[in-house]
Amino acid sequence: MKTILYDHPRALALAVILVAVAGVAALLTMPQAEDPKIRNRNAVILTALPGASAERVERLVSQVIEDELRGLEEVDIVSSTSSTGLSSVSVTLQDAINETDQAFSKVRDALADAAVLLPEGASDPRFIDERGYAFTLLAAIVWEGEEAPDPLILKRTAEELEARLRNVPGTEYVLTEGVGDEEISVTLDPDLAASLSLGEAEIARAIAQADAKQSAGQVYGQGNELAVEVRGELTDLTRLRAVPLRRGRDGAQLLLGDVARISRGIVQPEPQGVLVNGKRAVVVGTRIDDGLRVGGWSARVREELDAFEAELSAGLELELIFDQSVYAEERFGSLLVNLFVGIMLVVAILFFTLGFRSALLVTAAIPLTSLLSLAVMNFVGIPIHQMSITGLIVALGLLVDAAIVMCDAVSRALTRGLSPREAVEESVGRLWLPLLSSTLTTVLAFMPITLLIGGAGEFVGPIADSVIIALIASFLLAVSVIAALAGFFLRPEKPAAEGGRDLFAPIGKAFEGALAASLARPRLSIALALVLPVLGFVGAGRLPNQFFPDADRAQFHVQLELHPQASLEETERAVAAASAVLDAHEEIVQADWFTGSSVPAFYYNLKMNRDGAKHFAEAMVTARELSGLETLVNDLQAELTAAVPNAQVNTRLLVQGPPTNAPFELRISGPNLDELRRLGEEARLILSEMPEVTVSSASLSGGEPKIWVEADEEAALIAGMPLAAVSQAIAAKLQGARGGSVIEGQNEIPVVVRLGDARGSIEELRSATLVAPSGAGVPLASLGELTLQPSAAKITRYDGERVNNVFGFMEAGALPAVAITRFEEAMAEGRFQLPYGYDYAFGGDAEARSDAVGALLASVGLIVTLVVAVVVLTFGSFRLGALILTVAGLSMGLGMLSLTLAGFAFGFQPIIALMGLMGVAINAAIIIVTTLREDVAASRGEPEAVREGVLKTARHITSTTLTTFAGFLPLILSEGGFWPPFATAIAGGVVLSTVVSFFFVPQAFLLLARGQERRASSRSLPQGGLAHA
């Protein structure tokens, strides 16, 4: 059994070939992406209630929908934002829900129930759940012509492109951004209309009447059935101009074209605009389906784009402004280079420590294990992305260990003069249990991450999944294929060969001396060995928390926010000023501005939630390189704030992890809006005093000015207009009335009738003449006064309570946890006190972190029990089990110490690194303890024997330590916020844990053995101590 592959070389060859073929096949076909796909558990429900104030929207719409949705067990959090005329309810599903589609369809059902309860005039709730994923590719159609850009042409071109991209296989979703809807506007001079007693509604009706689009039945003939339709549907503007409005005397007709200006175009004022490198553009975003390779799909899309560009009209340009595959390839490329360099270093070291043949074998083990892992990952359905590759790299540090240990054991056995077969049999027999045990404990250490649910779980889970797969693969290969190969390839070591290693002899002597000294005084040695881990734990307390690191992309985004009533033109002026600042920086390659909406999500956790916000603009900025990005972003923040003083500027780096609104988020909940606002201001004042905080905002800031028509009800009634009619007439005046539609190509364009200048200013509105249902014109001014009053701009709710969300944005490089610490200090000073009935909670980054950590800790109890069980069963001794677990704990302290020494923040990559580190340390400890237990003298507590035992294991422990360190060295030195902390924690920890391995474990074993010995002799039991029975 132990030598089955050694005895059957063909089976061995087949096994190797099988693993290689399966692995290579998997590598070529596996889905590839830059980041793992976090399942979208968020949906937004938009309901319009035109003209209603935020308070009314809250009470009549948001609350109704919330109540309905909060009853669903699948729903975790319901929050809402009610603003003037619009309710936006956001639903977050429970983390445990994986079948989100099913859950969302339940939400939809509940929404249908709620729709019945909504007030008259409310639109049907619109359910949006496709916003959760980032676009894979953004293409812009840019207006290059000299003339003023025509948004209509851009829009139609973009729609054509959208249709074509939708047909590319593997495309999941396509969206056009940057241009409003089309409409045909019929504009009347308001005074003229009033003098003709023509209301918008009447004109709209006349147009709709003239639009004969419906079928007029069929003629049933003998042989044929023919459909009948009345000609005269609205086909173009000329036809529209000829729509009769009224018959005059003498048969004269008043035609629409006589009194109105008819034009086709984009809804005015335009709701949004896009500037690509300073030129007007429309952007088409497209997203790849699940389970595909970004590279291949992207190439197909590019082909389609090239074909489209060839057909494009002169004066228009097609520009690819974002392509995720570039980043994905760049990421994988640099990762693979680092990996390759790492492996080369490992091989080089192994040549020195193990000799040529062993090194070759271990080197062969690396690709073999990787390929087997990939094959299994493909089978299980884990795609290749940043996280699963991270997992493989972690495992790499561990998986060479098993191979090294096995090779070392076989080589020693051969040197002792055993035959290759005996050597393999002995080594496998001796090592399979400790190796299995250390593999199992490491697997168990990673289990909490695998079991992590929700967004954080989907994000970091694949790391643990691939680690576990790789570890098991590594163990299986080590005890079968590698052991067998070792039997074939390794030769007994010749003593002469050691002459070459005389170089290391002085170091070896020194080490031996130190070991002897420490074994002479084991308690002192243990105490000193404990100092480092303790320092680590103490030092970790000083480490700032940054659970999710910055994204390693040379991209960032800039947000501009003006006062809420700012028009698009005003916002575009601010954009022009900001754009000039960006242009002046040479480090910036590209800056694309989206005015009136968010940038289409170009990173997986960006939120697209600013639709229709004309006072908002956002830029996607691409820098030349990653290094210096923090400084650039911080400089830009200052420069832009100075250049655009009438807007809130927010320059933000991309950050990993589940989406959050802001790094610092404080939710103050309570009943009274005024009080919530006051508390929000207090909180923001505290934030404004922190040097790291760039800007802050509150969801309940002051209300926006709103014009109220104080209509005298009696006067209105006498004029034949109930107040509702007044409101409708004003709405018709400002928004226009719809009548009919024109079909052009594949587009149906609505016709909107509105009266000239009423939208221009307060005075125009004041002097507007409303048309009463009777047809008489009633000056609005005669009905009442216009006053300006604040109306809450938005009301935000969270879990059924009114909240004020205070957001704090940090400068690049500063950590959100710092703001929270400072805020808590301010609270301790009594600067932020909540009255009775009010409460607060931190959201944002802190919440994401505590959610993730909470979920991580949920399964820890069970896992620790299992680890204990495995270790105790392996050694059949609680004491030794406790010793191994202590080593695990100490190694975490050492990992933290290396983090502290390097000065990295504490986040999720270090946590994963610490778990991997634990595995390595346990591995080493298990090997040492196993070796010592085999030695009867050592088990009796004789220092000399213990020293000999330790020296026996020292070679491969040093080898694994050095290889791990070397393997991670390129990553330690790499750029970005993701890899260095991770690699430092694991590699630094592994190096430091040799202290524990050599100066804590043997000494502790010695003490335990002596204790055992004493007890045994006092009870005069047969001697044996900690040795195998």
Partner: protein
């Protein structure tokens, strides 16, 4: 951390104390480094950053102008339908709609033939009556002579005198008729009663019109009038004789209030105000005009752009001003609104550095770097600046 092994057989012993000291020293160095190393991203010392804000100086004034617009229509002060005073068939209409006519210009003619016939008929009848009169006179003279001589009875004398008088009356009657027939011939051409424009044509050549039926509508081009409906709440401020600007497509004219209706139209809650435009204005009757009422109102305050306003507490408004480098909230009330600015009064003082826009960025007490406003803001007392 320099353990390096693979040493077998070498048993060199060194004084253990060296190892212990070495280890302790190494640990001390690492410990000191770990515990006192500056850490990236750790809280750093320093003040909060001051945000730049565009500010302008508030200019307090004692009164403000409020501007309101009301729509009305222009009418010619004299519009009349003209027609022939005689019936007849129209021979020709000499003017077209839109033609300008002077007083006395011939506008249309009736067919002259029938009128001539009527005149000849009248003169013939007159001649006949004159002949009859002559005979009656001579008859009467003879009868009078005979009576004097006693040859005739009184009865005969009376009859003859009556016949003579009757004939004379008839002549007078027919003279009138003849004169009228002559006048009718003149009436066959329709002349303009005043200078103006032809605005409508009711009948064309060949039509038979009754006497007095309108043929053309003339509009006087001299003084024009505007009728503007003004809500009764505001019409009280208007006094007859006041000169007020009327805005029309082409510009603005000053017009004089000539009368204000004393009743309120129930369907519009407004009163009709008649205003006279100056002579020679080139406006077309029927055009739409707007009455601009500027109302100077007492009240100390300052104009601020709407973007500077931020909601205060309990429905109040506030503005943020920069004082000593920090944002300070000042509560205000809005007295008037115009275009995109508001006239506010309250705790605002002259010269206050008011933050112009994006006030939501600030909370009271926050540090601010004021940047003088570069944009064109006409916040001084400029009533109709934006029209």
């Amino acid at each position: 951390m320099t353990e390096r092994n693979d040493v077998r057989g070498a048993r060199g012993r060194r004084p253990a104390a060296i190892w212990w000291f070495g280890a302790a020293g190494l640990l001390a160095v690492i410990g000191a480094f770990a515990l006192f190393r500056p850490i990236d991203g750790a809280p750093r010392e320093g003040e909060g950053r001051a945000l730049e804000a565009e500010v302008f100086a508030a200019r307090m004034q004692d009164s403000f102008e409020e501007r309101r617009l009301f729509t009305g229509t222009l009418s010619a002060s004299e519009v009349s339908d003209v027609g022939f005073q005689v019936p007849g068939e129209i021979e020709a209409v000499l003017v077209q709609i839109g033609d300008r006519v002077e007083k006395g210009d011939v506008l249309a003619r009736l067919d002259p033939e029938k009128i001539d016939l009527r005149r000849e008929e009248a003169s013939a009848q007159l001649a006949e009556a004159e002949a009859a009169l002559r005979r009656a006179r001579s008859t009467a003279e003879r009868v009078l002579d005979l009576r004097r001589q006693g040859f005739a009875t009184d009865q005969e004398r009376d009859d003859a005198v009556a016949a003579r008088d009757s004939a004379a009356e008839r002549v007078r009657l027919l003279q009138r008729a003849s004169a009228r027939a002559r006048a009718d011939a003149e009436d066959a051409s329709l002349t303009a009663p005043f200078a103006g424009f032809v605005v409508r044509r009711y009948a064309d050549q060949g039509a038979t019109v009754a006497a007095g039926a309108p043929v053309l509508r003339l509009s006087e081009n001299a003084a024009q009038e505007a009728e503007v409906a003004v809500p009764d709440t505001l019409s009280g401020r208007l006094l007859p004789g006041a000169e007020l600007p009327l805005i029309h497509r082409g510009g603005e004219v000053m017009a004089k209030v000539t009368g204000i209706a004393q009743d309120i139209d129930p369907s519009t809650r407004s009163r009709m105000v008649r205003m006279e435009l100056p002579q020679g204005s080139s406006l077309t009757p029927g055009a739409l005009v707007r009455l601009e009422l500027t109302d100077e109102q007492e009240g100390r305050g300052a104009w601020v752009p709407l973007s500077a306003l931020q909601e205060g507490y309990r429905g109040l408004w506030s503005v943020y001003v920069v004082e000593d480098g920090a944002a300070v909230r000042k509560d205000v009330t809005i007295l008037s609104l115009s275009d995109d600015r508001a006239y506010v009064s309250g705790t605002l003082e002259d010269g206050d550095q008011v933050i112009k826009a994006a006030t939501f960025r600030f909370v009271p007490g926050q540090k601010v770097t004021p940047v003088p406003s570069s944009g064109p803001i006409s916040l001084a007392n400029a009533g109709g600046a934006s029209r």
